[in-house]
């Protein structure tokens, strides 16, 4: 809340990204592609498993950021005006998801058992699910979901960028109308995509909470990435006089809160299955509660919940750039391990965690692509939504 502060805010402009750095990211992308293809020849299962993990991880950061943006519009919040552009930059990766969805559809046979008619035949559960879980419907509904996400991301981020020039408050109003529509579509379509792409890896298993579990993970990583980029831009001196410690504190609170949210959802999903003890549900959890996956489950409890929880608990921690930055990096790693926890036991069973050059190579490739789109966005657009009508009030954001 500001008491009638006036004055103009200097536009920090766009981030200067050296062509060498963009070249490095491009090289990472190409190198990753090479390693993925090499991995494909060496060990198909490992290559596909790491592809699914990375595809969902980076899609998740972008979608988590888009969700964050929508929530800011729908709650008509003032404080987040100077940091919203950072989240918008994270969605720049989304168009590339067309490629990753395409690759996923191409690899459907190698990734999902239920795509094999001989595997489904005679299996009562899978035959019962076949009207939903079949390749054609899978490709159609997931493509529609991605299409809708791209449309809304394009419109909402586009309106925000247009506002930089025109300073037209009507553009904010338009996004306020779009945000709730997107959120309703997102709730259904994201649950569907999580069911399709992650839960159906074990086609016999089902959990009605899986959608919200996947959502808890992507929002967790979207917030962590927003915090990291915010600190990065502040350290570069781009946000001086615009993003103060109070904004950082609020992003930290979001990260802290959704650490707890993930733990809450993750435990709820586990406990319901544990309590009901239904054979068709428990297999998934038993696999992950016994050797060789037990230690990964313990890592998630400690690393994805307790470590960020206690690191971000103190007020001063959320206001300290370095703590926020490194906790954010750690949270991204934890989310990555969570996806491995979901994907790898279905591929490798008793072989245990696979983390070698194939996995790291694919990750480096995706990181290169994600970074390339992110920094291209930041180098082309202002790093602050300079035309936002709430910006002037938010710059003087202060906590009591």
């Amino acid at each position: 809340m500001a008491h009638g502060h006036t004055g103009t805010i200097n536009n920090p402009g766009s981030l200067k990204v050296s062509s060498g750095f963009q070249g490095l990211l491009g090289a990472m992308a190409l190198g990753g592609l090479g390693l993925f293809i090499a991995g494909m020849m060496a060990d198909k299962d490992r290559a596909w498993a790491s592809f699914v993990v990375n595809h969902f991880f980076f899609l998740g950061i972008a979608m988590g950021a888009l969700f964050f943006i929508s929530v800011q519009y729908i709650s008509q919040t003032m404080w987040s005006a100077p940091i919203r552009r950072v989240s918008e930059a994270l969605t720049a990766y989304l168009p590339f998801a067309i490629v990753t969805f395409g690759v996923l559809f191409y690899g459907l046979h190698d990734i999902y058992h239920w795509t094999h008619p001989e595997y489904v035949a005679g299996d009562l559960v899978l035959e019962g699910k076949a009207s939903y879980l079949n390749q054609k419907f899978f490709i159609i509904r997931d493509s529609i979901a991605l299409f809708l996400w791209l449309v809304f991301a394009n419109k909402m981020v586009g309106n925000s960028l247009k506002q930089d020039e025109s300073r037209d408050p009507a553009l904010s109003a338009r996004n306020k109308v779009m945000a709730p529509i997107f959120l309703m579509i997102f709730a259904i379509s994201f649950t569907m995509v999580a069911f399709d792409q992650l839960m159906s890896l074990d086609a016999h298993w089902f959990s009605t909470m899986f959608g919200v579990y996947a959502f808890a993970g992507i929002f967790y990583s979207g917030l962590a990435a927003t915090g990291i980029m915010l600190v990065f831009l502040r350290r570069r001196g781009m946000l001086t006089g615009i993003v103060n410690d109070n904004h950082l504190h609020d992003v930290g609170k979001f990260m802290f809160a959704f650490t707890v949210f993930w733990a809450y959802i993750g435990f709820s999903q586990f406990m319901l299955i544990w309590y009901a003890n239904l054979p068709e549900e428990t297999g998934y959890m038993i696999k992950r509660m016994t050797h060789p996956w037990l230690y990964l489950s313990v890592f998630l409890l400690v690393g994805k919940f307790l470590v960020p929880f206690f690191f971000l608990m103190r007020r001063s921690a959320k206001r300290t750039e370095a703590i926020l930055f490194y906790t954010g990096i750690f949270m991204l790693i934890a989310q990555y391990m969570d996806l491995i926890w979901i994907v790898q036991p279905e591929f490798f069973g008793n072989k245990g965690l696979q983390l070698g050059w194939i996995e790291l190579g694919t990750t480096v490739g995706f990181l290169g692509v994600f970074g390339f789109f992110l920094f291209r966005f930041l180098s082309k657009n202002n790093v602050v939504a300079i035309g936002d009508p709430n910006l002037a009030n938010s710059v003087f954001h202060h906590h009591i």
């Binding site: 435990f267 309590y275 007020r315």
Partner: protein, 190 residues
Amino acid sequence: MTSHSSERTAPLKAVVGFFDNPEDIMTGMKTVRAANFEQFDAYTPFPVHGLDEVQGLKKSWIPWVTLALGMSGTSIAFVMQYWMSHEWPHIIGGKPFNSWPAFVPIMFELTILLAGISTFVALLISCGFPNIKKKIFDPSITNNKFAIAIEEPVKAKSGFKLFSESEAIQVLKTAGAKDVRAVIQEGWFS
């Protein structure tokens, strides 16, 4: 309640300076703080942003109470349930005795309960509740005036400027107070 210093008979408790707007009290507070009195406080009709920093308020100790009692809640709930299942074992839902997943919701609830209640109680204590002696010295501080009160500490500590009425009045006047008044003690409920 308040009266002019020359007319009073009861002992002096505090000197209060009144300001018209948040900006004035902010600059005024800097002067008052620099004077290094032991006990001074601001009274405003609404929260004034940044005033706590200017005033040099220390960080509240309440979060430590929340943390300590919250963590106690977690452990008490676990120990309680473990002890109960151990002393009076029952087979529930075919689960083994002392199944920890069943304990977690109670651990969570007791964490929140103890943390929440202790925070509330700590807040009341830190605000000096119950306080039936101090009365509001002027109704305008809940309406349109901003005040800084320099009080006489019950026991003076070393390292601070000794409280004196004339000096306190002088400091408040230099701080830009529009109106400076003395507050005297009149006993309970008067």
